[in-house]
């Protein structure tokens, strides 16, 4: 992977700095020189990218590329330790550079302040030795995978969800790729919604450091990288398991090689372009267009309309379909049945089938789904509160917290 014929020399300062590596025979002088020569691209500087880039920088990786288009938000700091209080509002790539340079003055940071797309991925990837995928959506996962296969770069993969993580090394010559494991993405409607979102702040630290470990092993050529294995991390049980992955001979990326160029990954993942009001699966992915009066047969009530009805003493029955832990953060003091258990708990709804019901959630997507379920269960007068409790906090009661 690293051309060993022309490795950069270490300065005396570097020899002192990396002495704990140099006295490990598995690393040694040549290994440290390989690290210095190595160029690693971190796709995303979020929860996974943060510990990944920090440890690679500390370890003496010579060039770290960072791809991100976002800016630092205070809510990122629960887990994205490459950013800090003082860089809130800055571009993430700039913020990350400050931290990395502060950790190791020798590191060469290459900033790609852009969204990774089919148009730029191959061009960006070609200058690096290893790609570390720490992105947050399926479109980019497939994009990174295909670009790795096409450019022949290994992908140190990590992914997290709530208390659970996955790691592997994809797209090596002999091993499987992400598509071998997941030939196609789940339809957007089956992707866990906001209700099941969230992540334990330390989990990306755990998984990101595993990715960093794999990157270092790939560069040094030591140990057994997670090629052909999927590591499953369960932070609650604190259990680690590995499953065997096989290279799929039918895989369109690494098997048959029928994927010869990058494709439209939004389309591949069934994601419509922003602003389009799509079918339920699509709208449940983001916000339901609040300006549409009726969506899929469900009237959309604005928070102002609901407030007026409450003030007039003619409020309909309001149902909160969020989860109990969300209810604990903020609520409107109305009955609550999580959308997932609604079909089994229809009997608990204390009003007649023809009574007027308004359903709300956090931002309006889950309540749209719930409205459809109620309609299917025979309720004839169901509306969705457009924008959910967030819109209520924005426009009716600014004293409420937003989450």
């Amino acid at each position: 992977m690293i051309d060993t014929t022309n490795l950069p020399k270490l300065t005396n300062e570097e020899i002192a700095r990396y002495s704990r590596h140099l006295i490990l025979p598995e690393v040694g002088m040549e290994g440290q020189q390989k690290l210095k020569a190595a160029k690693v691209l971190c796709v995303g500087t979020g929860g996974l990218g943060a510990p990944l880039a920090l440890y690679l920088t500390a370890a003496g990786v010579g060039t770290i590329g960072l791809v991100d288009f976002d800016t630092v938000d205070e809510s990122n700091l629960q887990r994205q330790i490459i950013h800090s209080q003082s860089t809130v509002g800055k571009l993430k790539v700039d913020s990350a550079e400050i931290m990395l340079k502060g950790l190791n003055k020798n590191v060469n940071v290459v900033k790609h302040n852009t969204m990774l797309t089919s148009a730029n991925a191959l061009e960006i990837f070609k200058d690096y030795d290893v790609i570390a995928d720490g992105t947050d959506n399926f479109q980019t996962r497939y994009l990174v995978n295909d670009a790795c296969v096409l450019t022949g770069k290994p992908n140190a993969y990590g992914s997290i969800f709530r208390f659970e993580g996955q790691a592997s090394v994809f797209a090596t010559e002999e091993g499987p790729c992400y598509r071998c494991l997941y030939p196609e993405p789940p339809p957007p409607g089956l992707v866990p919604s906001c209700a099941e979102g969230g992540v334990l702040g330390i989990l990306p630290g755990l998984v990101g450091v595993i990715q960093a470990t794999e990157v270092i092993k790939l560069i040094l050529g030591i140990g057994e990288p997670l090629i052909g294995r999927l590591l499953l991390v369960d932070a609650l049980g604190m259990s680690f398991r590995t499953l065997k992955l096989r290279k799929n001979p039918e895989c369109p990326a690494c098997g048959t090689h029928e994927i010869k160029q990058l494709i439209d990954y939004d389309q591949f993942c069934g994601i419509e372009k922003p602003a389009a009001v799509g079918p339920l699966e699509v709208s449940s992915h983001g916000k339901v267009d609040a300006s549409a009066a009726i969506v899929e047969g469900i009237p959309q009530m604005s928070v102002e309309q609901l407030k007026a009805r409450m003030d007039a003493g003619t409020a309909p029955f309001i149902l909160d379909v969020r989860e109990p832990h969300e209810y604990a953060i903020v609520n409107l003091g109305v009955p609550q049945i999580p959308v997932g258990s609604l079909p089994d708990r229809i009997a608990e709804i204390p009003v007649a089938k023809d009574a007027e019901i308004v359903v709300h959630c956090k931002s309006g997507a889950r309540s749209q789904k719930a409205s459809l379920a109620l309609k299917q269960a025979g309720f004839t007068n169901v509306s969705n509160l457009a924008g959910g409790i967030l819109a209520w906090a924005d426009r009716i009661d600014p004293s409420l917290p937003k989450y």
Partner: protein
Amino acid sequence: MEIHIPTPLRAFTDRQETVSVPATTVAEGLENLVQKHSAMRAHLFTPEGKLRSFVNVYLNDEDVRYLPAKEDTTVADTDELTIIPSIAGGTPAAAGCCR
């Protein structure tokens, strides 16, 4: 046999991490799972009753797709099935969902 349920699907198993079902084959184990937790069915199977292509099921550490008998592979009580979810998370704040 024990079936390991990934976090994204635990909403349909009353938050249980593992579900015990009687089974003599992989297919029977999965069928008994969705019998027990009916809301799981749509997430695991197509309306035609086929396992969805983005759902990976492992018998111990082997992908069921690569076992000679696939879902008809016979299983013992001590065997474990694991459902592997597709998860994409890295930086959930930017995921476009939970803003």
